[in-house]
Symmetry: D2
Subunit: 338 residues, 4 copies
């Protein structure tokens, strides 16, 4: 199909990633991650995120989130998140089923939680009849395209730790956040106090590659078994690892994410010039314009995208590593034509 | 690493499959299986398995097994299987955790269940205090390399259906079984009475591609949600589908499986000639020789493989689509040298 | 302790119920509900709720709710309830853990849902990434002491059924609701369209007796196993059944509930006379007055009760079958004294 | 019904226990175990089992077992037990569903495990694809009426602890075992190395009273929430506690159990005198005679009991606190008459 703005998982695989997959296709390799490709990629994770980092490649973002939460909780716990969080609205109740936990979903102005938001949920501490908050889960970048600064993450981490909670980050678009902030991956995760990270790569130019990353080895205890029982252990792991290798070896992750972010900003600028309201700050690769409702369907015919809020006429436009300036300009022109 | 006999998932990706993956990497595609590649592959499944077949690509064999079982049971049910079954001994208790069920694992001479084996497990029917058998699960080919004939599958299916049970087939190596028997995929599954199939491709020359296949549409009801909640829905599904396309379009599945089977038979013949006992019938791509214990480690240094029964000196040799006659002959020579 | 207004489960066992327990303590009886007491009590359930009623005594209200929900859902489903619902705020996430479902909790003015409240939650129908609503769960009487009229229940039932959902009623205080409305138990449950009921007796003068009641036998299929696996099957069932016998044989249930309701109304009247605001309609055995915050602790010393909203100074007063006019008048006097 | 030998849960409630329940029925009491009766009974538990004992009353034996196992495991763990264990054959798969674990059930000569039995199950330690043994669970007395000596329990405990496992005891008939051995409750549990105990009282003359008892406070961490989420927290807890009070205050537990044991030995002696084979050692309150098959039904008409092994003609006779010498003698006479 024609380039779309539907989702960064409508895009394909970056040529460098595909080449890495092919390179990994040499002869036999140990299965289930005992291979040399995986050994190498775990080194890259440690280089990016620090010694003692424990990284576990998995198949899917939902898999990464669910297993992260399972590792950090017991079934009587609650996980506090924004009410726009992927774990809450787009995972068909997977965290509840797999970890047994309750999700406490809070409204936010633009997808970002603050310690003040979380505070009231702790009122139930010690109350036997209520699920006990144990994890604050944030998305970086958020589902609304906004980005937590390192200071904002740190504030949440300090708050969480000060109250006996852990901080989980759903980093399906972590690369976009880091590229946007101009930080390393580490500065907005481990260094900002994150305990466990779902590190996403699929939305950033790979075929199928996500990882659960622990910054505290104690949290990772037994996680080999959790991943296997959780149906997220790849037999031919080398091909997942090859994808991470391509991303992490030479900062291809940043190059692709930065490009997607730039395309989102170009979209934003063009649309604003055309008089279109953009309803959330454009801080990563998502743009949420409010469009005249009768314009939405014709535009979608040209460039596929999803409606975010039908009543309000708000749509979601996602840029990808392969979005071109020509795509953006063509879309903006269409909008501008009215 | 050098060609091994450790597992068919030590082998890589067949060039035709890799080419299909690359071909699917064109522009954007709808995510989560709404793409044209997936539409096409579902046609292939129907062509191979019959109209009304419902096929759902997933990431992993354990994922396929667990979700098959969840679809066919309620948590108070039991699943009857051989005590060598992958679901029982190699999935870290995943069926129990995900579906809530109990596994009833029965000893068998060579990995194959019969109706007579299952009969006694039905004594608890209607007894409130016992998990109620609902599924008979068989592996085709079995974990011991043996193969059920269509008649044997049919006998189990008739027995299961006659007692209100369903028949699940763990077809991680279904292709090897069909190639061995000279049947179509359908003849030993749907036509033999199987209700739900875990169709494996990863062990047969793909990168990462399994599928849950229902032959009764009623069993598939709600399975879209089961798969998503079960963390087994691929966002960039086209790349899973491309692998199945390569396998199913021109019977590459059979070509690869037949080759692996042939290499296993060559191994068997060579080893028997060298005076080695083969402990299970060689009916697919696995060979289980009994070796002098002191020979095992030196041989493993040359060609990696796994020990099956340490006390008995029985090892498992798996052939793959890429095993060569030279590999086999070299291994046999080493053994023969003593 | 002195008579309290803390909860109807602070009260003890009505003498008639205790006498029934003692009467059941004669010789041996079949275990697990095969006894004559249970046979008789199931007759009472059918007499009260209609033929084809399937009633299953269990130990606890949370047990009844969780197993009701499990029987009515699959793990990918969602249960829609008021955000004051016991299943949401007072069961430590038990529905999520046991049934795997997600709870969708909606704000209400006084604990009562309407079809209009539920409508927006159905937007996700058919959307693979969202838990699929399958049950509307309402509390009768509600946790705020309000009561659904038969027409209000019917409206919800029609709405639910019209959309493929089921209606569950948490009837921990069903007797209070029926006594308040002057209806039979059946008129506000089965006749109003309820599909599955948690029928509570513990809060109404028994020792430990709740029941899951199905009005559609198909929903009850396999529930014997669900209850046993769910750890809610009593071995010496006759003693649970004896309690229901005492309640249901001669409408002791109504006598006790009506008394508790009358005491609540007396509390309401007395407090209003003393100038106290009552924040929710008093329609069963709960009264929610707003008290001067500095008065709360001294009053609690005299008559134990729970604070509902600390910031607002709202407390919850529950009347029981054994609350006396003297208790009420003494409490009101204390409040009136200032 | 006439006194039976079917099960110790066919018997009723000892008058002393019933009197205690009635005594607890005075005025109001804090709910959910905050009452004085429960405070007192926890003292009794500490007196019997030692300081730091954490006891949690629950409703049912299956509830106690399931929550004990949940507290001691993670879902990827396995629990090793005898293949006659109640958790394996009579709980409808509850441990699997609630704790996610796999049960590894081993054959034994008479229901009793030894370290040597367990040793081979540890071969999978560290193998990612296998559920990891974490708990050895034994029944005391066993389902076959045999009893572990303190030394035998200690040997299993030392073995378990030496391998990083915990020892769980299903003490549904712990009192019978202690009475049989002439030990305190503590000598065959805590002092013998048991980590967590399901302490049963229902089968020993109470109405409904079981408890989860931890000897290591660390294991009990969070168990308040586990019990509540597990639907096993009684609202009117005082009535459960009263039952334990009656049992534990003056060693009524031993008096009743010793009587039941004596009746079992009388049965054994009488049957042996009548030439009947007794197939398991009679060490508690169960007797397993082999009877001529055609005699079983007529005898069952007179005194209800269950068949254990239909093919072998083995039946199970259970004595209770209320079994009389006359009952026993009448049954023996019937058998002797042929």
């Amino acid at each position: 199909m024609r380039t779309s703005f539907a989702s960064d998982n409508f895009s394909g695989v970056h040529p460098t990633v595909m080449a890495a997959i092919e390179r990994a296709n040499q002869g036999h390799a140990m299965a289930y991650g005992e291979d040399e490709y995986t050994a190498s990629v775990l080194e890259h994770f440690r280089r990016h995120f620090g010694e003692d980092t424990r990284a576990y490649p998995v198949f899917s973002g939902t898999g990464a989130n669910v297993l992260s939460i399972q590792a950090a909780t017991r079934p009587f716990n609650a996980v506090v998140c924004a009410d726009t969080a992927h774990i809450h609205v787009h995972e068909t109740g997977a965290p509840e089923k797999h970890a047994g936990v309750k999700l406490i979903a809070l409204p936010t102005p633009a997808g970002k939680l603050t310690p003040d938001d979380v505070t009231p949920t702790l009122d139930v501490f010690g109350f036997e009849h209520a699920a006990q908050p144990k994890v604050v889960s944030i998305s970086q970048a958020t589902e609304l395209g906004t980005v937590y600064t390192p200071e904002e993450v740190r504030a949440l981490a300090d708050f969480a730790h000060g109250n006996g909670l852990l901080l989980h980050m759903d980093g399906a678009r972590l690369s976009n956040a880091a590229a946007s902030l101009g930080t390393s991956l580490r500065e907005i995760t481990r260094d900002a106090g994150v305990d466990v990270l779902s590190f996403g790569a699929t939305k950033n130019g790979t075929l199928c590659a996500e990882a659960v990353v622990f910054f505290d080895p104690a949290l990772a205890e037994g996680f080999d078994y959790v991943r296997m029982q959780g149906t997220q252990l790849a037999s031919k792991m080398r091909f997942l690892s090859a994808q991470f290798e391509a991303l992490l070896e030479d900062d291809l992750w940043r190059e692709m994410a930065a490009h997607a972010n730039a395309m989102a900003r170009r979209l934003e600028a063009g649309l604003r010039d055309a008089g279109v309201e953009i309803v959330f700050p454009v801080e990563s690769n998502a743009v949420f314009p409010r469009l005249p409702k009768e314009r939405i369907e014709p535009l979608r015919q040209a460039f596929y995208f999803y409606t975010w809020d039908e009543d309000e006429g708000i749509v979601r436009l996602m840029a990808s590593f392969d979005t071109t300036e020509a795509d953006v300009d063509a879309f903006v022109s269409l909008v501008a034509e009215g």
